[in-house]
């Protein structure tokens, strides 16, 4: 895994677990808030008040793109994000190879597809809503 240059940077030490990032991500991409359909995932660890943050690191070597049988994953030349195109069938091959489990297979109007952080096309919403600077880019 070679982490990309432009990406959402995580700082779990500062994370307070409010999940505002999850909430705004889902709303921004799908017009509604769904705890499953989000490009960033916050989970509480065994210690109370300690959290893990999972978000795509926009890998330079893009293992997800290599694994995609549809060639649906490519780097967006404007935002620099690794993005999943509309021809995704939701087969889940990309999610299997992702080294940090940052890809979710979600259901939209009955169809399955892969979803992950696309840097909101330029300005990540999660970074601006995070109240503790636990996310940066």
């Amino acid at each position: 895994m070679k982490v990309g240059v432009v990406k959402v940077i995580t700082n779990p030490k500062s994370c307070q677990g409010c999940r505002a990032c999850e909430s705004i991500c889902s709303l921004y991409h799908f017009n509604k808030i769904n705890p499953k359909s989000t490009g960033i995932k916050i989970k509480e660890l065994d210690e109370y008040g300690k959290f893990s943050q999972t978000v795509c690191q926009q890998c330079a070597d893009m293992p997800c793109a290599k694994a995609c049988p549809q060639n649906a994953i490519s780097r967006n030349s404007y935002s620099g994000a690794v993005t999943i195109g509309d021809n995704c069938t939701g087969c889940g091959e990309c999610a299997k190879v992702c080294p940090i489990n940052a890809i979710e297979i979600i259901q939209i109007d009955g169809n399955y597809r892969a979803f992950k952080c696309d840097l909101c096309g330029g300005v990540p919403q999660c970074v601006s809503i995070c109240p503790r600077q636990a996310l940066g880019w």
């Binding site: 307070q16 677990g17 409010c18 909430s23 889902s26 017009n31 808030i33 109370y48 008040g49």
Partner: protein
Amino acid sequence: MCFNMPKTGTGVVGGDNMTGYKDCVLRINLNNGTIKKEKINAEYVKKFLGGEGYGIGLLWYEMPHNAKAFSPENILSFNTGPLTGTPTPSASRTSVVFISPLTNTIGASNMGSHFGAELKFAGYDSIVFEGASENPVYLYINNDTVELRNAEYLWGKDTRETTELLKNELGKEFKICCIGQAGEKLSKLACIFSDDCFAGRGGAGAVMGFKKIKAIAVKGEGSVEVFDKDRFLSVNKTAIKELRDETYTWGPVHGYGTLAWLDGANAYGILPTRNFLENSFADIESLLPYNIWNDKEKFKVNRRACYSCQLGCHKFVYMGKMEIGELEYETVSALGARCGVDSYEDIALAAYYTSIYGIDTISAGATVSTAMEWYEKGLIGKEDLDGLELNFGNGKSMAELIRKMGLREGAGDLFADGSFAAAKRIGGNAEDFVMAVKGMEISATDPRGSASMAIAFGTSERGACHMRPYSATIDAFGYLFSALDINEPKNPFDENESKEWLKAVKEYFVVTNLLGICDFNVINMEMSPITLAELYSAVTGIDTDKVELLKKAERTIALERSINYLRGFTRKDDRLPQRFINEPAPYGPPKGRVVDMDTALDRYYEACGYDKEKAIPKYEKYIELDMEDIAINVLR
């Protein structure tokens, strides 16, 4: 008698594309174990918006007005608001509404954590419990699947054990709210626990215990829809900016949580000390988070915020390896200054007991402090306290008594129902030392330092409560707020000043309970009511302005007062204890001050359009609020 309205929902609220609300209410009949899913009642939403308002609507229209708190007739509801589950700051709240066993008035208590948002994701606005179960049960909600399950094996377990057991059994992603031993044993101070957030005041936990509901476990994978995404994203930015621009909120409170208030409250002379004998604590330094938390050998503090919260006041404190839980302003002042205790270890230990057994820290601390005064005045002795020496300042005894109260063990039984119930059992002049209104212990502000807080405590519909509203911000700390026409500083020592502004501030606070967001969005007048109205409009598509939003709160308050009135509460119950009326405050700016309660009440009732004796709206006011049906039933 109850005032019937169509019981099931009458349909969609906001046009065909209903957003914000899930348009589904779970109605659980515990007598026969039936579970019904019904549409939200559009009438309640139209009049009272949601959240606490929805629960109050249920109490008025669907419950006999004289129902006893501990009876199957009492309706216990968990109500999210239309903003709960959205990325609005602290859109996490669930209002628990019931008849309070502590006060016999309406009970409305709300909690944060991630429970409310999860309930919305599962597809429900409210859960309504009717009747009472014979055997312990817990409610299992996994999206569409809703079951009442046997909870025999959980009965007798504390709150953390219950949460752990359920999470291990059902999955970590489940969000749990539950009661501890105090709720099971019907302690009138019992609260509901959800990840160290509490629906604390008024004995909600005891109502759950009476109905034999040990816990609710919910998992939701559905969605909360927003009517106009672009408008919402834009207004939400404004809301966040307003919050972050308030330097006190976004400074010390964001950093240390509500404990940051200790310093200011103490300096100003409104920190209750030794059962309100004093209004400032000499050993305050030993309670300040700046001094304590930096002792990293002893304490570790992790942040653990509620859903979508910007402020993040919630902290999880470890003392050594002991998982204490949350320590916040009300807890530390009730168990600390109020009992004259300066040992942080003892306070933390007592807070731990309140957390795992599930009792309200404010009332528990206040009850112990009252017991301390009884002990010093000779009304009770060691023989009543299982040998504990309960002088002011004795932290070890304080923590031990709290433990006994949580478990209703030995001497704890005498105090487990609060200071008012204990005074009745002790007899003599014990009641003179009870610092409570309507039976609920006053929270951590000395009303002699803020005339508006004297009114807020006195007239609060659920008993002496610090959030209806926390108006010391305006008159004691000098905040101005043009959105509510508060353009000049208010005099904290003048009961005779018009209290129009207090009415507006109270409605502004209650609005947050209706919307499903936290009071800390408004406690320092951060988020403008215009922004709140915009957020509501963007989420639901129901265009609402500031005036309409505040009116819904005013209506909810009026309905709460109407229920209380029919339960026998009038002006006489809106009075503070005699200590504040007869004994001058000894320190700080309020030095020498007593409260002129009659003038204060007159000015407030005038501002609200209330009858000065009945303490409910006059007929004209009911009509103005579009509540004629209620007026007819109340005033006949």
